[in-house]
């Protein structure tokens, strides 16, 4: 039985989250919590030069927060910090604009999260990994 939101891509990331685990020597380890839902994530980041060389996450959450964390981690690993930040902004805009993006941008698997833009109560779920990542980058750039 197909569902417009809980489609194959989202459920695949939920069941088999990519980059799930920890890094042996993370530059930054940061926790993100949504206490009202019970979502809890810990993200390990390894920076090298201006690059996000490695990212792993652990934790538990709903399908939307898990899938979003998985897609994000897969997408941003190996990208420059500027590119990562660009993607954070792009994803936030994508949600703000009702799950649409400018024509020339391929959102990849993230496109499967478009439906969440229509569910204000779930925005926190879909963003928790992203805001945690953002905070991690911020911590790194301050240190």
């Amino acid at each position: 039985m197909p569902d417009e939101l809980y489609g194959e891509i989202l459920l695949d990331h939920y069941r088999f989250p990519r980059r799930f685990g920890t890094l042996p020597e993370p530059t930054v380890r940061i926790e993100g919590k949504n206490p009202l839902c019970g979502d809890e994530f810990s993200i390990d980041l390894e920076f090298e030069g201006g690059m996000l060389k490695g990212i792993r996450f652990t934790g538990r959450g709903c399908a939307i927060s898990m899938a979003s964390a998985s897609m994000m981690s897969e997408l941003v690993e190996g990208k420059s910090l500027a590119e990562v930040q660009e993607w954070i902004e792009r994803f936030k805009n994508f949600l703000r604009d009702g799950g649409t993006s400018p024509d020339d941008v391929d959102m990849g698997d993230l496109q499967s999260l478009a439906g969440v833009a229509q569910l204000p109560a779930r925005i926190k779920c879909v963003l928790i990994a992203w805001t945690t990542l953002e905070e991690g980058i911020h911590m790194h750039s301050k240190s």
Binding site: M1, P2, L36, C37, G38, E40, G61, A63, I64
Partner: protein
């Protein structure tokens, strides 16, 4: 519940609730979040509007006719509350914004005045944050300590622990009457008797009890009882603290300002009589009147009928959910209030709630303002279906249908 006359009574009741005709995503609303807030019948809406249309003025102030009328209406609502919960007099009925404010009032005005370092406040891990956090702060500012009533695995209080637990210097026992997550109905009369033996005061959080069970505070014998209007067909923004007059007299005010004072000079003031001492500022007048109408409405239906109706629904829900593969339900198997918390294996509760909403079924998902209880249960969150007088057995079928659909999407959609 298959009793035809009960169902037809429920169907008649549903006619009083305009919102139940709403379509959600094209399907009739199945409202199963009554423990969060209940819906309002036309009679209550009309009482609110009619007061606003023809009787509105500030209370206890004006000498003109309209103000007298408004004051009468407001005080009549207080009398209705008194009768509804079997309080000995109207003086012990304090209108608040809700249960939260009522508990905070006691935690400030009673606890901060009478507790001292080393005193003990007894709570349980099932408490809603509203009956936990105010006591944490009261303990912090007085040097008192919190103790938690041991639980049995089924989510009931372990009454055999009472003798060990209830010893001096326990000064306050603050417990929920009915758990908003587990549906446990605590033996509040027995607890009160035990607590009084050592001179401790008892506050009961009745937010989930007063809407669903016949409650009589005189019979329970407790010292304070708190509840909200919006979970019992009334409006938001109105609730009640009932307190024994002798304690209310001894307590200091909570909020200060107009109405609660007698004489004011530039550097001091004296307090009005109870209950007005605790009703600073303009109260929610129309809301109080509408709460009175909600009590009239519930009385006309009959609290005994509501309890029976609730029980039939919750028993059916627990039976169907517990026999459904992959569904785990929480709380005691018997004597369960009108709600059931559960989890569906492999379907996180928030996703379940989103999927149920597609079919018009409204349930709660999350920690339900009881994070310590979630830790105790060992789950990050739960879903919860809660029932009220207008719910029908067929709505439980809609819930079950939605759960099966969610299971299918999550388990077999490859």
């Amino acid at each position: 519940m298959n009793n035809h006359s009960t169902v037809s009574k429920t169907k008649r009741i549903r006619e009083d609730f305009p919102i139940l005709k709403t379509l959600i995503h094209g399907r009739p609303l199945v409202y199963l979040d009554n423990a969060a807030t209940s819906q309002r019948p036309s009679q209550v809406l009309e009482a609110y509007c009619s007061f606003s249309r023809s009787h509105n003025a500030n209370v206890h102030r004006g000498i003109y006719s309209l103000a007298e009328q408004a004051t009468d209406d407001y005080e009549q609502a207080r009398s209705k509350v008194r009768d509804f919960i079997g309080a000995p007099s109207s003086e012990g009925i304090v209108f608040t914004r809700g249960t939260t404010e009522a508990v905070n009032l006691v935690a400030y005005s009673y606890a901060r005045k009478f507790l001292k370092r080393g005193d003990i406040i007894v709570l349980s891990v099932t408490e809603h944050h509203a009956n936990l956090v105010p006591w944490q702060l009261a303990a912090k500012s007085t040097g008192a300590e919190l103790r938690f009533w041991p639980m049995k695995p089924d989510g009931t209080l372990d009454m055999s622990a009472a003798t060990d637990l209830l010893r001096p210097p326990v000064k306050i026992v603050a417990l929920t009457h009915v758990s908003n997550v587990l549906g446990t109905i605590n033996p509040v009369k027995e607890i009160t008797t035990l607590a009084h033996k050592i001179g401790a005061k008892v506050l009961l959080d009745g937010a989930q009890a007063v809407p669903h069970l016949p409650v009589n505070v005189a019979e329970i014998g407790c010292d304070f009882y708190a509840f909200s209007g919006h979970k019992m067909c009334g409006p938001t923004g109105i609730g009640v603290l009932w307190g024994r007059e002798e304690w209310l007299e001894e307590m200091d005010p909570f909020l200060t300002g107009g109405e609660m004072i007698r004489e004011v000079s530039l550097d001091s003031a004296t307090w009005n009589d109870i209950p007005y001492k605790f009703e600073a500022g303009t109260p929610p007048i129309a809301e109080a009147v509408a709460l009175g109408a909600a009590m009239d409405y519930l009385n006309a239906i009959g609290m005994d009928w509501i309890r029976e109706h609730d029980q039939e629904l919750v028993e059916q829900a627990m039976m169907l959910l517990s026999s459904e593969e992959g569904v785990q339900i929480y709380g005691p198997k018997e004597n369960h209030a009108a709600l059931v918390s559960f989890n569906v294996e492999g379907v996180p509760p928030h996703d379940l709630a989103t999927l149920l909403d597609r079919d018009g079924v409204a349930v709660r998902a999350g920690q339900q303002c009881a994070q310590p209880l979630m830790h105790w249960l060992g789950v990050p969150a739960t879903a919860r279906a809660s029932f009220y007088l207008y719910n029908l057995p067929e709505e439980i079928d809609r819930l079950l249908e939605g759960i099966r659909k969610a299971k299918e999407i999550f388990c077999y959609a490859r």
